[in-house]
Symmetry: C2
Subunit: 229 residues, 2 copies
Amino acid sequence: MKKYPEVKRYPVAIDCIIFGFDGSEVKLLLIHRGFDPQKGKWSLMGGFVEDTESLDNSAARILKNLTGLENVYMEQLLTFGNPNRDPVERTFSVVYFALIDIHKYEAQLTDNYRPQWFALKEIPKLIFDHSTMVDLAKEKLRVKATHSPILFELLPEKFTIPQLRCLYESVFDKALDKRNFSRKALSGELLVKLKDKEKASSKKGAFYFRLDKKKYNTHFNPANVFGVS
Amino acid sequence: MKKYPEVKRYPVAIDCIIFGFDGSEVKLLLIHRGFDPQKGKWSLMGGFVEDTESLDNSAARILKNLTGLENVYMEQLLTFGNPNRDPVERTFSVVYFALIDIHKYEAQLTDNYRPQWFALKEIPKLIFDHSTMVDLAKEKLRVKATHSPILFELLPEKFTIPQLRCLYESVFDKALDKRNFSRKALSGELLVKLKDKEKASSKKGAFYFRLDKKKYNTHFNPANVFGVS
DNA sequence: CCAAAAGTGTTTAGGGTACACCCATGT
DNA sequence: ACATGGGTGTACCCTAAACACTTTTGG
């Protein structure tokens, strides 16, 4: 069948907002843009959609290129398409955000782009409309975290309750009551207590927990998981 | 500056999901597709993004073409881009959803496309991936309505509490307690009681209310407005 | 023995839900 | 007078929030 006549065509790109958690703060992975214009400036990781891949697959490919990671939590956020957002030519960008275990990342670093993690409060000026994308993603992360246990995607297999609380405090940028938090976290029945303790950050040591994956996968979507509302 | 070399280019389209409320049910506006393939089949209203307009503007233009309405609540939902979603050629579709006052629409009907309103439970088979888009929009509407007073966009200037409740019942597809509902609706302080009554649907008559636009515009975004959670 | 972080219970207030009767009026 | 839908109030429960002390152990 003939192609649509008289229709303009444009490059379609993906940009990835990649969140990680280093144990005390949520961070964002940025790269140095690899080509002109604005070569060398801080940018989100991105790339053009290839001819045979879906948007989701394209985002996954781009994420893998940078981090080496597969099967990562990713979600489409929004598409940007202002006519002048890219000075080279009009380009549409479909923005994804990803949540990764920052420790797995560190093991598989490829640094062609000299990637770097930035704390949410110390994000530098970014090219084009990437700063807007990041702001939107931060807001989305908060909204989703309020209604679903999505933040577990940022944690390693084993983690402690204080680490978990710290993660929520970082995302919502406010202090949470230790007692109320741990009660809510444990009441969800998503956590399984392990025998061993994390001893690096206190003398007493904090018990490790892991996620009950079965319950996590079915339960995924209860309203207001840890009551950060 | 030179264009990006070696990058494939694609048509980018908008599809609009248009919700209305006729006083007893939420409905969706569909059209007959105007060209091949699948000419004449039920479809969302759509069109290609033009060269100088933003995505938001393009969606607004397309909505206006069909409904005659401007300054309508619209929001970008998600972008679809599976390689084979359109059999003619690969096309990306940025989906928007709009909430309109169905009465204003009826006044300005243009019917080149023989548009028709369908109750949410009676939506026919749609072309391409449009059914998926609609499902997604229905879900999104519920989520947003749970956390913000967005459904007022579907109502006329003057409306009664029973009408409002009926709207929520239609969106959430469940019966809501009359007493609890009206208490919550009124406690929000978004509603202003008017002197006159709607007398068509009962002998006693129900008082009209209108939205306090000032409070609506500032307040917009309180959590869980009418507690349908 | 002291510092530093982990862990744990109770009380209170507010919001959500369930539930039943009277009111106004057109016919 | 009666049928129809509009409008209101109360009791209970559950969840969220506030709040302080004991435990463990490395140094």
